[in-house]
């Protein structure tokens, strides 16, 4: 009976150790760089502070940084990964919006041309 209890204790200890081992992630240095780049690029194409996705990216990146200093590396990695994709989405949204603006402009021109052609014929 007692040996059975002991083996259970051992098992529990092993499980705990494994879990603890999991939580002890390496520092996500590369991911931090990636995220920083993604943020820079989003801002470079003109993503603005009014974009929810960019705000989220910045907030999560700030959190990831403070996680790095407190050595909660798992949380740092998760925040940085999410921030990277938030930033990339913000960038993609800006580019799409710009192309839509171009379409509107070109449409105005085309309409003007068609109108002139209609008048002169």
């Amino acid at each position: 009976m007692s040996s059975f209890l002991n083996s259970r204790c051992l098992f529990a200890a092993v499980v705990l150790a494994t879990l603890a081992g999991c939580a002890n992630d390496p520092a996500p240095v590369e991911q931090m760089k990636l995220t920083e780049k993604a943020l820079e690029q989003a801002k470079a194409v003109g993503a603005g502070e009014d974009q929810a996705e960019l705000q989220a990216a910045q907030a999560k990146f700030a959190q990831a940084r403070s996680d790095m200093t407190s050595e909660s590396f798992k949380s740092a990695r998760m925040n940085a990964e999410q921030a990277e994709l938030d930033a990339r989405l913000a960038e993609a949204q800006v580019l799409t919006a710009k192309s839509e603006e171009q379409i509107t402009q070109l449409n105005t021109r085309l309409n003007r041309l068609r109108k002139q052609l209609g008048e002169s014929q």
Partner: protein, 271 residues
């Protein structure tokens, strides 16, 4: 005797762990469902697949990871995390696809524009030839004067209807000459300046002068001149060329002037 409370406490522990698991499970399930719905949508969209295959694949991989993790215990917020990343990739894929579709549409529209520009130029040329006046094709012969501001061409009041901003078709010949001149002199740029007489509201005059200058600029761009070569400026009733007292003088003051740069593209300063 000692064993009974112990069993009870184990039960309690397991129970609470189960409850905790349930709460976590629910938010995991929700995140998984959303991510999987998003992924289905982009996966079935041929445009998205064509334009952003890598993003779609990443969305699928991350969704798979989230689903695998959801069958284990003690994965904490990993499931929601990977579900979140998967959804983001789906959204990014959709944005990339929208961008590609827009770019393709722009290319098509640009071709339309060139075709229409050509047609417009031809029709203006035809109408000018009908009037039998196309022979004199020296830009300088046409109401241009060399001033300290550079070469200036004046489009008179008769080319606009009163209070209107659209250039009348009688201006075709003049406009075509400007276009031809600018095509022969690709480095030259122009500043189009609008002026009015002093009758009426100052602010309205300023707007009218701007709008008329802009409409001349629009016709030039419509005929194929790059809008980067065109500046537009409205001066309202400033800089009259004649006294505003007489009707004749006022008519002369209502005008649009096209100021040409030198051959190197240097324009004189704004007035």
């Amino acid at each position: 005797m000692n064993r009974f409370p112990r069993a009870l406490s184990v039960c309690l522990l397991l129970g609470s762990a189960g409850l905790y698991g349930c709460a976590g499970q629910q938010s995991n399930d929700q995140a998984l469902q959303q991510a999987s719905a998003d992924f289905q949508k982009v996966k079935e969209d041929t445009d998205v697949l064509r334009s952003a295959p890598k993003d779609v694949i990443r969305a699928g991989e991350l969704l798979g990871k989230a689903e695998r993790l959801s069958s284990y215990l003690g994965t904490g917020n990993d499931v929601t995390h990977y579900a979140y990343l998967s959804r983001r990739y789906s959204e990014i894929a959709r944005e990339h696809s929208n961008l590609l579709l827009n770019t393709e549409r722009l290319a098509k529209m640009e071709m339309d524009r060139q075709r229409l520009q050509l047609a417009l130029r031809e029709s203006k040329l035809a109408s000018a030839q009908e009037h039998g006046r196309w022979l004199e094709d020296q830009i300088v012969s046409l109401a241009t004067t060399q001033t300290e501001r550079g070469l200036v061409m004046t489009l008179g009041d008769v080319l606009f209807d009163t209070g209107h901003t659209e250039l009348k078709s009688s201006a075709n010949r003049t406009v075509l000459k400007v276009v031809q001149f600018l095509q022969l002199n690709p480095k030259r740029v122009v500043r189009i300046e609008g002026y009015t007489d002093n009758v009426g509201d100052k602010q309205e005059n300023l707007q009218l002068s701007k709008d008329r200058a802009q409409s001349v600029a629009d016709v030039l761009t419509d005929l194929g001149i790059d809008d980067k070569r065109i500046q537009v400026q409205g001066y309202g009733d400033q800089f009259p060329v004649s006294a505003n007292a007489a009707e004749r003088g006022r008519a002369q003051n209502r005008r649009v002037e096209i100021v040409f740069s030198d051959a190197e593209g240097r324009l004189g300063p704004d007035r």
